[in-house]
Structures are given as structure tokens and as C-alpha cells.
Amino acid sequence: MTSISMTVNGKAVTADVEDRTLLVDYIRESLRLTGTHVGCDTSQCGACVVHVDGKAVKSCTMLAAAAAGSEVTTIEGVANGDLHPMQKAFNDNHGLQCGFCTPGMIMSGIDMVNRYKAEGKTLDEAAIRAELEGNICRCTGYHNIVKSISQAAGEM
């Protein structure tokens, strides 16, 4: 067992975990933040994307112990009173059907908008589609997800 401390959605948390505990399992099972999903569990689908120190990562492919000392943001931590512009955009554009992939889509969407803004690059439709390489949706055909991220990019 390892004692780990980190900040999750702005709150300091400490726990004793088995060394092999995945970050996603710590988030879901110990912290009971079940908005972060496990889809494929093989780092392909992106349902488990969270931000670690401001960067999107697949939390099924990182140990909780490796995130010790980090600031972690999950889907539960992005709204600030009102919905985050990315959440609102998914609502406005019907950017989901079953919703299973949505937390990961939103976390990846926020990450790509932040990166493109920081680098002064334009996040056009082709760029959004390329950036969504690691997020799989089996319902929507992606069109409304792309529209949602595009809308949020203009509002963030």
C-alpha cells in the first residue's frame, strides 16, 4: 500500500491505495466520482479522460500513485456554478446520445481548446476531428460532438 495525496477538483484528498491501483479506479471507487467512465479499459476509447496538472490523460492508463502531488480535474470539477461552456455546448448541439463517452469528450474538448488557444492556432473542424482520435463515440457519428466543441471554442 502507498499513501497518496493529491488535489481533485480543488479539494485535497489523501488515501492509502494498493500500488497497482489505476487512477480511474481511485477516482471512481474511492472518491465515488463516477462521472469518469471506464469504456474499453485499454486506453483507446477515451471515456476515462481526466486532466492531470492541466493536461488530458487516460486515467485507465495511469497509476493513482503516479498522480500523487498532482492537481486532477474530473468532469465533476469543470462547472463553476453554471455549466462549463463545453458542457453547455454539448447540451445546445445535442452532442450526445447515450452519453457514455460524453465526460471524456468534454474533458478532451476542453483540453484541445486550451492547447490551441495557448499556441494561437485555429481549431477548425478538421483539427477537432483529428484531435478526437482518442475518443470513441458509438452513437452520434461525431457531427454534433464536433459542432459542440466548435461552439465552445468560440466561447471559452
Binding site: D19, R20, G46, T61, M62, L63, A65, A66, S108
Partner: protein, 264 residues
């Protein structure tokens, strides 16, 4: 995943000592291959020594045309380095097409090079650029480093510190990703530098990354995509699987080499 004991190293020296003190230890870089492998129980190291936070193993430095990249530099950092892009855009582009954005935030150059996956992108770049792989004990030329699929010249307990190379006059990478896994079914890095033309192929060979002497000779006399028209790539030694047979991959080698040359 089988149980393991996690250690976070704060220096390269500490990592080496933790590793040598472990029963059956493994270095944990970005973990984008090792963690999935452990989850499938294909690997079960007694100890994991996490070197992703070791500052001395990170960073990109460019001096003239000399480039050094720390082993724990992530794919995202390589892809977005303006300094590197100015002298070797082909390598920055290669890094920007590994995995997906979240994988690129964790995965590292050193981890990829040490794993030497037969479909990984970086080994082709290291071989084509004639890079030197610096470890905690010695320096190894890329030509000697990549021995066979998943096999390198690294000894037990040896750790990659950085890679360095001279930026080529021209250099680019082209890959044909598997439509499902996005791993390279064939990736070719072409570089024209002071030491001549080097062409390295990943994803296609049944024994890992390799150089193509025929294509190097053709491009040495004329560095243009159509100079490769007359080169015949043999299907002998190519991977053959449900994704593509050996003849298909041999053809891909030539097509990707032409695309890389045109882009360089």
C-alpha cells in the same frame, strides 16, 4: 494487474539504485505501453521505478544543428517544440501523430525507444537520423541499438538518459496507420544529412525496424520521390498478418518512402 511495488525516483541515480535493488523491477516512463501490458498480465514486474518526474531526463536542447532530447520528454513536448521544429520538423510531426492527444501527454521518447515495438514510430526516426542513444553507462549508435523486435542493446538495469543527433538537411516521416489500431502498418523516415541518405522502416519488417540499402542508394544519387520508382522492395522479411500480407507491406514501404521523400 498483478501486484507491484511503486517507487517514484527523483533523480537518475536514485532510479538506477532502486532498479538494481529490485527483485524483478521495471522502469516506468509514461506507462502508455507498460501499464496496458501489466493490465493484461503480460508483464508483472515486482517493482516499478517511476522516472517520469526526473527533471534531468527531460527537455529538448538545440544548438546549431545538434539536437538532444531527454528520455522523459513526452510526445506532446516533442511535437510542440518550436526549437526542434525549426531544425527538424519531420521529427516534431512524427511525435504529433503518435497515439492520440492524451497518450502524447504521457508517453515518452525514451519509453518508446527502449520498448522498440516493431510498429512504433520513434525507432524509425532514431535509425534514419543516425541518433546516439545515451544511457546511464554509455553511448550507443542507433545502428547498434535496435536489435530485433522488442529487443535493444540495453543491458539489465541500463536506463536511457537522452538521444542526440545532427538535424538533417532534409528529413520527413510518412506512415500508413492501421485503420483500427492506428499503429503503423508501415512508417518510413527518410533523412538526407552530412553522412548521406538514410531510410528507416518501421511497422513492416518481421524483425522490427530496419534500413533499406536499395532505397538509400537510389536517393543518394537523386533525392526525389520518383528516384524510388525503380527500386523493388522484396516481401521477404515483411510481416504478414490479417491486416496485410508481406507483398502488401512491401508495396507500402515504397509508397511511404516516396511520400516521406516528397515531404522532406
Amino acid at each position: 494487474m498483478h501486484n507491484t511495488t511503486y517507487h517514484k525516483a527523483s533523480s537518475a541515480a536514485e532510479a538506477a539504485s532502486l532498479l538494481s535493488g529490485a527483485d524483478d523491477g521495471a522502469l516506468l516512463a509514461g506507462g502508455q505501453t507498460l501499464i496496458p501490458t501489466m493490465k493484461q498480465r503480460l508483464a508483472a514486474p515486482s517493482d516499478l521505478v517511476d522516472i517520469s518526474g526526473v527533471a534531468e531526463l527531460k527537455g529538448i536542447s538545440v544548438s546549431g544543428s545538434s539536437v538532444t532530447i531527454g528520455a522523459m520528454t513526452t510526445h506532446a513536448e516533442v511535437a510542440s517544440s518550436a526549437e526542434l521544429r525549426a531544425v527538424c520538423p519531420g521529427l516534431a510531426d512524427l511525435a504529433g501523430h503518435i497515439g492520440d492527444p492524451a497518450v502524447r501527454h504521457r508517453g515518452t521518447l525514451g519509453g518508446s525507444v527502449a520498448n522498440n515495438d516493431p510498429a512504433a514510430d520513434y525507432p524509425a526516426a532514431m535509425l534514419a537520423l543516425g541518433a546516439t542513444i545515451k544511457t546511464n553507462t554509455r553511448e550507443i549508435a542507433a545502428d547498434d541499438f535496435f536489435q530485433s523486435m522488442f529487443t535493444t542493446a540495453l543491458d539489465e538495469g541500463e536506463m536511457i538518459v537522452s538521444v542526440s543527433f545532427e538535424a538533417p538537411e532534409k528529413g520527413a516521416y510518412a506512415k500508413f496507420p492501421n485503420p483500427a489500431s492506428r499503429y503503423a502498418m508501415c512508417g518510413v523516415f527518410v533523412a538526407k544529412g552530412a553522412g548521406g541518405v538514410r531510410v528507416a522502416v518501421t511497422g513492416a519488417g518481421d524483425d522490427g525496424v530496419f534500413r533499406s540499402a536499395d532505397m538509400e542508394a537510389a536517393l543518394s544519387s537523386n533525392f526525389a520521390a520518383d528516384a524510388l520508382d525503380g527500386v523493388t522492395v522484396s516481401p521477404n522479411g515483411m510481416l504478414s498478418d490479417i491486416h496485410g500480407d508481406a507483398a502488401y507491406r512491401a508495396n507500402l514501404v515504397k509508397v511511404m518512402a516516396k511520400r516521406a521523400t516528397a515531404a522532406a
